[in-house]
Symmetry: C2
DNA sequence: CCGCAACCGAACCGAGCAGTTTAGCCTTTT
DNA sequence: AAAAGGCTAAACTGCTCGGTTCGGTTGCGG
């Protein structure tokens, strides 16, 4: 099922022919690695194993190709985030699992690339940053809130401002490591590091919102 | 006093002549607005009110000019962050003040621009992202830690992992608003919003680390 | 076997841009 | 007054890159 969150651009007019997916996949690789300006159409064609003429048979211009790639990635993220959280297990355990999932994903190369692209290309393509924000952080926040409501209903948490609580939780989960990844200060993250950050995040969160 | 943290590049060889600062200032504006690739040297010269020949009399090439601009900005930030925190007032008040200061600064246009530049140009100039991280987040973290140690010594806080506590504090302070600013989802922030986030950040932090 | 459509690759066009050069202007120094 | 040095405007070089065109090839359906 495809999330309906991503309204970036109209479809690229023509998708008949075998090489369509090749083009998109090649473009994705090159765009993620080099950004919009940095990626040359010749590079993309080469990477996709396709001639430039073929590429331009599918997409009217570089910008539309880029938008399509970004749109697909946003949808992919939205779909991935769509399985909701069940708060049936002990709260601390669930929170740990969720925090680990969030942090691990955010440290992933694709997630980092997508973030860089959004920031770098915000001037040229504001819709992409917006769509990514909706599909990623905002979607995640909503799910967290929902889980929190269940837990509060069961008397396991005590929350007034659900939205901010959710944001605080994911910010705590990202603590230290995400910023270091984004700045390129650190690129490898051990399980110990991740586990430690997650553990402390849950402790702090529960100190405030636990019962 | 100039902070010694920023080791990006050697000085630009020649700074005789009146127009030197003009060039740097013009370059700063254009680079911050358009990024490295996006900024054309002609634009910079025009913005600086200077001929291209003059510009190239000072700087050997565009990259060196860019590095110099970034270096200065990093130094500026490092200097600004240099006044330390006195934890003499009631902890909650001090934390509120510090959080407000951090958040307000991070939502500032220059801070946002500098962040965008670091991320966008990480591929070409990794040293800049690194220097900014050192001058900004890392510097701030150290100061926070120091303040925390005082407070712990006076029995007003209870902390095991100072580093992570500091990171958690600044992450809590950024909650929600910073991410929205970075993605361009929101550009104006009311005092109420800021105050609310700060307030909740301090509450959560003290729930965990307060005595 | 014919025809058609997708595809190739390589040449090509035009625009934009980093960096250079030239010819000359203005102000300060000697 | 002449020399020298900082500056300017504008033309120019060389390159990259987005996008187009074209002649030729592959492969598939009838």
């Amino acid at each position: 099922m495809s999330a309906t969150t991503c309204q970036i651009s109209l479809p690229p007019i023509k998708r008949t022919g075998r090489k369509f997916d090749q083009v998109l996949e090649g473009a994705r690789k090159v765009f993620m690695a080099d950004g919009f300006e940095g990626a040359s159409v010749d590079d993309i064609a080469r990477q996709a194993g396709v001639s430039k003429a073929t590429l331009y048979a599918y997409f009217p211009d570089k910008a539309r190709l880029f938008s399509e790639v970004a749109r697909r990635d946003c949808d992919r993220i939205a779909d991935a985030a769509l399985q909701s959280i069940d708060m049936s297990a002990p709260v601390a355990d669930v929170l740990s699992a969720v925090a680990t999932q969030i942090l691990t994903f955010l440290l992933t190369e694709p997630a980092q690339s997508m973030f860089r692209i959004c920031i770098s290309e915000r001037g040229r393509f504001p819709e992409i940053a917006h769509a990514y924000y909706e599909a990623g952080p905002e979607m995640g926040r909503k799910q967290l809130e929902e889980g929190f409501r269940d837990a509060v209903a069961r008397g396991e948490l005590r929350i007034e401002d659900y939205t901010l609580a959710a944001e605080q939780f994911s910010d705590l989960a990202k603590s230290r490591l995400w910023l270091r990844a984004v700045f390129g200060v650190q690129t490898k993250f051990s399980h110990q590091e991740i586990a430690h950050v997650v553990d402390e995040a849950v402790k702090t969160f529960l100190a405030r919102y636990g019962t």
